[in-house]
Symmetry: C2
Subunit: 156 residues, 2 copies
């Protein structure tokens, strides 16, 4: 008998997704990019996770790109600051104070790229964030290839 079981995860607005990877091994080889998605409850989960803390610390030491959007920037700056990391970032306005308190330089741009750290503000900036991630990893041409059929606004 075979039982197929998927862990489904409930996002902050009730959408249920099934991740490709079901568990996090913080000692596995790092991917080219780690992204912390937003959502206030999700950001809190990140902040309470030793595995996420370890991943952020390794990203810093190994020079891997790390992205965070919306409230998730809070987890990034918290664990990053513990390792003495500081970069110019943005976040959802609701966590701006916490980010500034942690001593990170704050910008209100829709997407901020500083060294290996890429951050963005919220759901409304997520397309621009995603396209910036594609461009950073795969180049301008690939970004345009992905963006064109999406019918994005002239000013994202």
């Amino acid at each position: 008998m075979v039982i197929l079981f998927f862990n489904r995860f409930v996002l902050s607005r009730g959408v249920k997704i099934v991740p490709d990877v079901q568990s996090l091994d913080p000692e596995a080889q790092l991917p080219d990019l780690i992204v912390l998605p937003g959502g206030a409850p999700g950001a809190k989960t990140f902040e309470e996770s030793d595995a996420v803390a370890r991943l952020i610390d390794r990203a810093r030491k190994e020079g891997v790109y790390i992205g965070a959007i919306c409230a998730a920037t809070k987890a990034l700056v918290r664990f990053g600051a513990e390792g003495g990391w500081k970069a110019r970032v943005t976040s959802h306005p609701s966590v701006q104070e916490a980010v500034v308190k942690a001593g990170w330089e704050y910008a209100q741009d829709k997407v901020v790229l500083d060294g290996k750290v890429i951050t963005s503000r919220g759901p409304g900036t997520s397309l621009l964030f995603a396209l910036t991630l594609v461009e950073t990893l795969c180049g301008r041409e690939r970004r345009e290839e992905v963006e064109a059929p999406m019918i994005t606004a002239s000013e994202l």
Copy 2:
């Protein structure tokens, strides 16, 4: 012994979601709004579905709002036209020809609202589409309440 089983559905870009409702009863009471999401493979699935054909026909007869975005407008106009329905719509450019061929009036606006039919163009216009759906069903005030913390671009 209890076995929990979720049907997961794979979207056109590989994201796996678990819908709240696992099967479609085309004779059940209609909701306030039916939305056909896009994705070329999904639109094709809609076009091959008798249940979707029946829902579109009932939406027309019962005066329920119906939305379609991206390639999904193709399924809407196809089944709608069979019932003699015609409205002003938009779609992803890749299915514009099919929409025009079905005799529906075509517009290139990001979102088109004509009577009970709300259509939009693609992933890049999906936020504006979603906010228009909220406004249509719940009013301007609710839309602003939802939109403000999303940090949307000045021109969506």
